[in-house]
């Protein structure tokens, strides 16, 4: 019995394993049965989370606890449950989730369960399992043999795929707001330009460091204003120093970044002098044309045409870049994916190990990315326009922390804080 080590909640990581809920009632506090049960779970290699606990008001009143237990495998869980039953716990047995085979490809059956971005668990074969690839506005496909479940977008549905319908045997586990005194604890969800920037900035830097220390990826989602405001060199530095593992952007960011690398301008404006250059308005189109002639960004970097900037560092440091096209794009650059469904699929693939997303000066790509991220991925949205940040939260990415500020000083300070030099 190690009471000092006992915690109210050994919150399981949303990774793997099987879950079962038990309930125990009686004089479980005075008899030390509750602590004993919790200790037993830990001793047997499981983790627990107390989902409900009611303590009797008077000495004769019984108490009640509902405890979720997670173990690495069904066999491990059975062993723990078998032990706990001896100590008076009994399994809580709700129904299994209802599953229906998709009748056509590309659409869910009627009454499909529509997902949120919150951690979701599903009861299958009498067991709670985690739904993987958590994403909002999807359905849930079940593998009845492997006993797994994952979110699938509508377009990926194949005829015959077992899809969850109705709401039985499903539960959503809300993501708790972090308790630590970090940016996320401190900021809440308010969007305001009137927050102390140094504190916010330190919070972003700390979160990025923590994400990397945990072996997770940092995702940067950026708009062309990064280049227009002269921040490309700060982002390039962040990439060079290993703080960014994935970049989502559109044709514009890449084009103006390369324009700067080749001509020293962004949309024809000199980054050094802030003045329009003669015939500068042609620079971006000439840039696209040159890169298309070279066969793409990577080829242009490899040939020595591009020697600096965001795209250069991405190629040199193996950053996973997804450039998604839009209807107004010039060119576009060869790497730009113009099929939205295909672009979504690439982004979906890339967000899998992301632990922190920094969204800067783009409403379109930020919302698109927010749609794909589970609620437990920390999101910081930096924009001069409060509406961008509000919009992201309104579309369901409620975990977003917004910083209303000019992106250049923000990125310059962030690069400085994270600088390893």
């Amino acid at each position: 019995m190690d009471r000092d080590d006992r915690r109210e909640s050994h919150a399981p990581e949303p990774t793997s394993g099987v879950i079962e809920e038990v309930e125990v009632r009686g004089h479980i506090v005075d008899s030390l049965l509750l602590p004993k049960i919790l200790d037993r779970i830990l001793q047997m290699g499981g983790t627990f989370e107390i989902r409900e606990c009611k303590i009797g008001a008077r000495r004769v009143d019984p108490s009640y606890a509902r405890i979720a237990i997670r173990a690495a495998s069904a066999a491990d869980l059975d062993e723990i449950l078998g032990d706990l039953v001896e100590h008076g716990a009994s399994p809580v047995d709700p129904e299994d989730a209802k599953v229906e085979a998709a009748d056509i490809s590309g659409a869910f059956p009627d009454h499909f369960y529509s997902t949120t971005n919150q951690r979701t668990q599903l009861r299958l074969g009498g067991r709670w399992i985690d739904v993987s690839d958590q994403e909002m506005d999807c359905g849930i496909a079940v593998d009845p043999v492997a006993k797994t479940a994952r979110c699938v977008p509508m377009v990926d549905v194949q005829a015959g795929m077992p899809i969850v319908v109705g709401h039985d045997g499903l539960r959503v586990v809300p993501t708790e707001r972090p308790r630590e005194a970090s940016l996320f604890g401190f900021m809440g969800s308010g969007v305001s330009s009137e927050k102390p920037k140094a504190v916010s900035l330190q919070g972003v830097a700390d979160s990025i460091r923590a994400t990397r220390a945990a072996g997770k990826k940092v995702l940067l989602v950026g708009g062309p204003a990064i280049v227009h405001t002269g921040s490309a060199s700060h982002v390039a530095q962040l990439i060079r120093e290993g703080w960014v593992q994935a970049l989502f952007a559109g044709n514009a960011l890449a084009t103006h970044d390369i324009e700067q690398a080749i001509y020293g301008t962004s949309l024809g404006v000199s980054i050094d002098r802030g003045e329009s250059i003669e015939h500068g308005h042609e620079h971006h189109l000439r840039t696209i044309n040159t890169i298309r002639r070279r066969g793409g960004i990577k080829a242009a970097v490899d040939s020595g045409l591009i020697r600096s900037g965001i795209m250069y560092e991405c190629v040199k440091h193996g950053v996973d870049v997804v450039l998604a096209g839009s209807i107004r794009d010039d060119g576009p650059l060869p790497e730009v994916i113009t099929d939205s469904i295909r672009a979504q699929a690439r982004m979906r693939e890339s967000v899998k190990d992301v632990g922190f997303a920094l969204m800067i000066a783009t409403a379109l790509h930020s919302i698109a990315t927010g749609n794909l991220l589970p609620a437990w991925v920390k999101v910081v949205c930096v924009d001069i326009n409060p509406a961008t940040v509000t919009k992201l939260s309104d579309r369901g990415t409620f975990q977003t922390v917004g910083l209303v500020t000019d992106v250049e000083p923000f990125l310059r300070s962030l690069a400085g804080m994270l600088s390893v030099l």
Partner: protein
């Protein structure tokens, strides 16, 4: 109010070692019927001598352990909460115990099916609290059910040594605030609970515990217990209790001694938990 203690016993006419359901039982060893009778009679006469009204029930052929009346059920006022024996070989005792209880004015009630509970062998009041042993014979869940049914605090204690398979083999209340116990029969949690709840706990040594010295019958300030526990006798004496050692070796062969051979029908003085007048009338949900 009549304070004469009433105790139920059953003569050992058909007592013997006919099966093995605990580490003490060995069919090869067997028991001596004549000696069993002599030892049982000595216990009976001692209790009568101490002023106890001993009620007798009729022994039944084929039910050798009917002699251990402590396992018949739990008496709480007029309520007789009937046992559900874990082992099939003892389940035949229940109809006889129930019939006796009903014929003697008790309201007989049973736990929901599928639960194990072995009566006063595993459920002992001390003060307002019911201490309850689980693992080998009774289930923790049964005890929780009983706590809700009777409206009393119940503290289930895990028994960890198969030789002390019933709570009354390792724990014996003496008064509202004092009890004897053998620490080795419990785990850390159980020992902590007992130490936290009971003011005076007399520890019984391992060698005295195996001679069933915790399996004692307390009548007033006298403790009737198995022979072979001089240290415990001294400790009891320091606490103001007399002890009456008896030779009950024939019953130890089946894993029982003085306490197992008796069932308190009257409320013992160390029990302060009192039945609610509605207790035996209430229609209690069995789904709890």
């Amino acid at each position: 109010m009549d304070t004469t203690p009433r105790i139920l016993m059953c003569p050992p006419d058909y007592y013997g070692i006919e099966y093995e359901i605990n580490p003490w039982m060995d069919r090869q060893v067997g028991s001596d019927p004549a000696e069993s009778h002599r030892q049982w009679r000595a216990l009976h006469d001692t209790l009568v001598d101490l002023g106890v009204t001993v009620e007798l029930m009729e022994p039944q052929p084929g039910l050798p352990d009917l002699v251990f009346t402590a396992n018949a059920g739990l008496v709480f006022g007029d309520l007789f909460l009937s046992s559900r024996f874990r082992h099939g070989v003892r389940q035949g005792e229940t109809p006889h115990f129930d019939r006796w209880a009903r014929a003697h004015g008790f309201v007989v009630e049973a736990l929901p099916p599928g639960r194990n509970f072995e009566g006063a062998g595993d459920a002992l009041f001390c003060g307002p609290t019911l201490f309850a042993g689980y693992r080998f014979r009774s289930d923790a869940r049964s005890h929780h059910w009983i706590g809700e049914r009777l409206g009393v605090p119940v503290l289930p204690l895990e028994l960890v040594d198969p030789r002390f398979y019933h709570l009354d083999t390792c724990f014996c209340p003496l008064s509202e605030t004092a009890a004897i116990y053998y620490p080795g029969a419990f785990d850390d949690y159980g020992r902590s609970v007992l130490k936290g709840q009971i003011g005076t706990l007399i520890e019984v040594s391992a060698e005295e515990a195996v001679s069933f010295s915790c399996n004692a019958v307390v009548v007033g300030r006298t403790v009737v217990l198995n022979d072979g526990a001089p240290k415990l006798a001294r400790a009891l004496n320091d606490l103001g209790f007399d002890s009456r050692p008896l030779r009950l070796t024939e019953f130890i062969k089946a894993g029982g001694s003085a306490k197992c051979l008796t069932l308190y029908l009257s409320t013992p003085p160390w029990q302060t938990a009192e039945p609610d007048p509605a207790c035996t009338l209430a229609h209690f949900s069995t789904s709890a």
